[in-house]
Amino acid sequence: MTNKRITVKYLARVEGEGALNIQIKDDVVTRVQLKIFEPPRFFEAFLKGRNFTEAPDITSRICGICPVAYQMSAVHAMEAALGVTVPGPIRALRRLLYCGEWIESHGLHIFMLHAPDFLGYQDAIQMAQDHPDTVKMGLRLKKVGNNLVTVLGGREIHPINVRVGGFYKAPNPRDLAPLTESLKWAREAAVKTVRWVGGFTFPEFKQDYEFVALRHGQEYPFNEGRVVSNKGLDIAVQDYEQHFVEEQVPHSHALNSNLKARGPYFVGPLARYNLNFDRLTPLAQEMAREAGLGPVCLNPFQSIIVRAVETLYAVEEALAIIETYEKPDQPAAPVSPRAVTACAATEAPRGLLYHRYRLDADGVILEAKIVPPTSQNQGTIEADLRQFVGQRLDLPDEKLTWQCEQMVRNYDPCISCATHFLKVNLERR
């Protein structure tokens, strides 16, 4: 009979501060706690009293990796509230901006944060000693994404060109043309990346997850779509709060989000892929198959392959958008405030990001609610660890702890977003 305590006091290679405590008593996992001790950040509170036009720039500050996602959910919520529909070219530019963010965020997570777990390195610097060309490729790929964000957003981190209704300045097609060369290189690099991560060894692990993501009529989802799941959920974003609830848990500064009917659920690349495989480009589908994935993948460790496939998709989508882009007459659609409540959800690199705002007649924000991807995945991460550790009690502590951290990183958790996470403690008694 084993009693153990797995303690990772400070989880590395995740954004923000958190820890993981796992307690095992008489060969039974008695407690799994993902502790998020990144201090609460009160964004929802200090949005109150600000003008509706300020929400995209304020909320973008929640995350340095996915600021575009915050800007996108904010502008879509405001536009839903104020009855604004943006013209085609602005819509296309928003997708292009999102492509840039997915490429830089996925590039960072695949190469710098997650791949070292699979290859047995402490970090990417150590990995670079044996795989210099791959790490160089990863850094360059990430940079292609950052450049896209810079060209459209005015700067690499916390872009400043997004506003409710569109952009402050729309680029000329000739501003975008120079990106084509680097994106063509990135397409090859993304194909190589899918092959590289497809060759990793994955722990055997599958769960009966409820995947939740946006689904759109024609496109792989960025900004629009219905909220759907593989267990029958199919709702308009406006009905989100009828089906999902956020709860406080004592061990975490992040709220824990659950489906009212069925409990924990799964958002992010794996959920998007499983619900939207048919919306990927032919090349992305082909590469996924070559890497050993079917249209549905239930092993969260293989999310690293899915991130590579999504990177490839984002590169191809960016190329397609640039090819057909025409500058809009006006960089933004006109907006005028009114007293109303509205919401929107978009697909951040880490999954569904929901915003709701209540405005007064002058457009002052009276109430704001933000549900980031990591707090939605928190329950599923804990459930995964409970199952995973239970199946591997015979492993030595060091290896088990390593695999637990690897498991947490399957979700690319962004703790700064969610407190708005990582130490692992494994305790066997």
Binding site: V14, E15, I125, K136
Partner: protein, 165 residues
């Protein structure tokens, strides 16, 4: 036609001006900027790996100025030659665990043999890196001395370069 010659010496100030003493690197290079030194390009950076790598690419000589947390007295000044002995074995990684910083740029530059031929890192010990804080008095007081040392270093480097040519 002449292609403009890139400044061969660059001083890169790294920091976040909204995080207390982390602003020190920026404040130092702003003073150097004001001194309008010829043949020297001043660059301000948030210190992400990619940005630092881009900034020092193609330069013959580079000085990086950044706040450090080395458990010394606030305002203490450190100097490391990236190609010499005496570099700390483990440079502290960037405060944001999701972002890569100067330490990673140095480690990768060494590994890939892409460091500028002459690279000096100046550190200034900070005590408070909290959001929205002012630079603490001990750090502010040490900034003029650090500026003087860097100016002297620049003059020596430029002198050597001229002599070599």
């Amino acid at each position: 036609m002449h292609t403009p010659v890139k400044p061969r010496l660059k001083v890169i100030g790294v920091g976040n001006e909204w995080r207390g003493d982390d602003a020190a690197g920026l404040l130092v290079v702003r003073r150097l900027q004001a001194a309008a030194l010829t043949g020297v390009e001043i660059f301000e950076s948030l210190g992400t790996t990619g940005e630092v790598q881009d900034a020092w690419k193609d330069a013959a000589g580079v000085i990086v100025v950044d706040a450090v947390a080395a458990s010394g007295p606030p305002g203490a000044i450190y100097r490391f030659d990236a190609h010499g002995a005496g570099m700390p074995v483990k440079l502290s990684r960037s405060p944001s665990s999701h972002g890569w910083g100067v330490a990673e740029a140095l480690a990768l530059g060494r590994l890939f043999q892409e460091l500028p031929p002459w690279l000096i890192i100046y550190g200034i010990e900070g005590e408070n890196f909290d959001p929205g804080r002012e630079v603490s008095p001990a750090v502010a007081a040490a900034i003029p001395e650090l500026v003087r040392r860097i100016q002297r270093e620049i003059q020596e480097w430029l002198g050597r370069e001229v002599f070599v040519r």
